[in-house]
Symmetry: C2
């Protein structure tokens, strides 16, 4: 058993309204960052997963996303396993 | 001017209490994911940045983090520029 560091990124699906992202984009423009566009705000989750292999850790992390971390109707997720 | 896709990850600083991360960890344990530990929950921000170079896009994204996206007292951020 090895402990793998896993990074999960959960973002609103393309095409779905993202009011938080729009608010951040307006604030950036007001602060002088006119070069920023298409802002989407989601969740970044970091965790340690004990598993026999990197592939097993990724599979378990994906299962966690499907069951709890992401809403499959409105969100997409991306799982990265370190090491 | 090129448009670069930028991924920003903002997470609570190590050592600081993260109640949302603890809640997620308890929920994962309750759902049978006992192999998960050290859960930290932060923000994942995606945006497009118009800049002359990849380095310039990263510098502007870091300025956005310092001014708006992250709280320098309680959060750390990581900027990745695609392409």
């Amino acid at each position: 058993m090895t402990t793998f560091k896993v990074h999960v990124r959960v973002v609103p699906r393309a095409g779905l309204l993202d009011p938080q992202g729009q608010a951040v984009e307006h604030a950036l423009t007001a602060l002088g960052f006119a070069e920023a566009s298409g802002v989407r705000v989601g969740k970044a989750i970091e965790l340690a997963v004990k598993a026999d292999s990197k592939a097993a850790a990724e599979a378990r992390a994906r299962a966690m996303c499907d069951k709890l971390l992401a809403n499959p109707v409105t969100e997409d997720y991306l799982v990265e396993v370190e090491g």
